[in-house]
């Protein structure tokens, strides 16, 4: 067994026992990246020198007996979370040379907990996409099958975890961007409750939907990461001043009387791949075998989630992305002409096609005369979707569904048609619209050997029950030993 294969919890125990040094662990992960990432392309940049320096500091902390919950643990960070002195590109030409002068709050928290950031992970440009094919910089291959995408938008983070090129990762989830790539790469990924984790230093896509969250090799690792990154932040006025429990300790408590709800609307969805349907049904049987009651619930407005989301998210994006003007940072097209020409040329050459498409949709939906028909209407439907969940959670504690209607598509299979790609987000968008926490935990494989994830969601701030159920399921399903076929 190589150190890079360890989970965070396993590595932490060995580090505490001084049977492994943080430097050895980081070198092992850097070696794995060196061997594999040319093929996979999970990382946009690898900060080897900074990582080794942080690992040595971690070893000193162990010597002093001052280790924290993530001391010496090598992590990947999606490349839209600001890291002081390390380029943060959003996988976009427009930010290709941007080096943030500050750390995001989650990065400060990781550093305080002793973590080692090994590099910045690839993604769809500005997190807009479901396959990572919209990265303006490079493709990322699914570690389970190089002809398939890793999912997106946090595809680099998920692929890096799956391929043992880090022990855990941070991603961001605006419409499924943590859960869906976690599902496609066979790892665990959690989108926390909106406001649970500070967004300060997260490059904004759709501010009322964006949330940073962990990806890991196990539910336990995600629980530990979540405990570290959660909490109120005076620099993010939407972060919520709720106390942060120790999510990892909560994992080992008795499950108690838990009911799982299964939306009838999701079980009859058109376009649901038979392998996904079978894997989810097996997961339901496994969960029932744990003594958990399963019952039907209704989410009658869930069918409108894609339409509501693809008004709200592009609208917010068109406003947020107005800041990329070639003046303060990033790319400028220096072709001459006046200020307005500079803006237009910079933005048209700096943004990729999907980003421009969403800016145009958002500009249209917010424009005078159309605002009520689109943005206001979508925001009303959003309220109905949230009410659906509130009603459903009166009769259950956790809601279960697929994460994605199919396993990871092949390159080019869906990304060429934007609407087809948007429709693949059907199961994940609702949690963002409602602001509730949701996670993906591996629940099987397709006949072609691609991973399939199970989605569990809970009421606002219900992360504890979510992680508990996922943890029990994960132990019962016993899929954790399965690794992608990589020789490295």
């Amino acid at each position: 067994m190589q150190p890079y294969q360890l989970t965070i919890a396993e590595a932490s125990d060995l580090l505490q026992a001084r049977e492994l040094s943080a430097e050895e662990l980081t070198r092992s992960v850097l070696g794995r990246i060196e061997a594999l990432d040319g093929e996979i392309g999970a990382y946009i940049s690898v900060a080897a020198d900074q990582a080794l320096a942080a690992a040595r500091r971690a070893d000193e902390a162990f010597s002093r007996g001052e280790a924290g919950p993530l001391t010496g643990i090598p992590l990947a960070v999606k490349d839209l979370i600001c890291t002081r002195g390390v380029a943060t590109t959003c996988a976009s030409r427009i930010l290709e040379n941007f080096v943030p002068p500050y750390d995001a709050t989650v990065i400060e928290k990781l550093r305080q907990a002793g973590a080692v950031v090994v590099g910045k992970a690839n993604m769809d440009e500005f997190a807009m996409g479901s396959t990572t094919e919209n990265s303006g910089l490079q493709p990322t291959r699914n570690p389970w099958n190089g002809g398939h995408v890793p999912g997106g938008s946090s595809g680099g983070s998920a692929a890096a975890v799956a391929a043992d090129m880090c022990l855990g990762a941070l991603g961001s989830d605006t419409g499924g961007s943590i859960r869906q790539p976690a599902s496609h790469c066979g790892v665990v990924g959690l989108k926390p409750t909106y406001g649970r984790v500070s967004r300060f230093g997260l490059v904004a896509f759709a501010s009322s939907l964006d949330q940073i969250g962990p990806l890991g090799k196990s539910t336990r690792d995600c629980a530990r990461l979540l405990s570290v990154i959660s909490g109120h932040d005076r620099r993010d006025s939407t972060s919520v001043p709720e106390p942060v429990p120790d999510y990892e300790v909560a994992l080992d408590r008795e499950l108690g009387d838990v009911t799982v709800g299964i939306p009838v609307e999701f079980s009859v969805s058109e376009g649901l791949d038979p392998d996904v349907s079978a894997a989810v049904q097996r997961a339901v049987a496994t969960i029932e075998s744990l003594g958990v009651r399963c019952r039907e619930v209704r989410l009658p407005h869930a069918q409108y989630a894609v339409a509501a989301y693809y008004v709200i998210a592009p609208s917010e994006a068109s406003s947020n992305l107005a800041r990329y003007d070639g003046v303060k940072y990033g790319f400028r097209d220096a072709g001459g002409g006046d200020l307005m020409e500079m803006y237009r040329r910079t933005r048209s050459r700096g943004f990729g096609a999907e980003v421009q498409r969403r800016i145009l949709i958002g500009t249209y939906c917010l424009s005078s005369g159309y605002y009520d028909a689109y943005y206001r209407k979508a925001s009303q439907v959003r309220a109905l979707i949230r009410e659906d969940y509130a009603r459903a959670f009166e009769s259950c504690d956790v809601i279960l569904s697929p994460v994605a209607p199919t396993p990871a598509p092949a390159f080019g299979e869906i990304a060429d048609d934007p609407l087809t790609m948007y429709l693949s987000d059907i199961f994940t968008l609702s949690a963002n619209l409602a602001g509730i926490p949701a996670l993906s935990v591996p629940c099987g494989f397709s006949s072609a050997g691609l991973p399939i994830g199970l989605q569990l969601s809970a009421p606002h701030f219900g992360e504890q029950v979510l992680l508990q159920v996922a943890h029990r399921y994960e132990q019962a399903a016993d899929l954790q030993g399965k690794k992608p076929p990589l020789d490295g």
Binding site: M342, Y343, Y374, V381
Partner: protein
């Protein structure tokens, strides 16, 4: 729209985007069938009151740090193409 969004599209891009965005907006129009009479629009996931804090000076980036990423600058300002006249 491209003008409002400060984008410059060539004819080919206009044609592609018009088709794709047309189909997306057609799909989005399914929202019209939802009865939303009397439903308060939801702009945020969590109901929070305004988050106030005292207006006190704190740490901030110095001039050089703030200018470090600028595509064009002098020693104290961002430089932009001529705006007036």
């Amino acid at each position: 729209m491209a003008d409002l969004a400060r984008l410059e599209l060539d004819d080919e891009a206009v044609e592609t985007f018009v088709g794709q965005i047309g189909r997306i907006l057609e799909y989005v129009a399914t929202l019209e069938s939802v009865d939303t009479d009397g439903v308060e629009p939801m702009s945020h996931a969590i109901s929070l009151k305004n988050a106030f804090r005292p207006d006190e000076p704190g740490e901030h980036l110095d001039n050089a740090e703030a200018l470090a990423n600028a595509p064009e600058k002098d020693d104290r300002s961002f430089l932009v193409p001529r705006v007036v006249g």
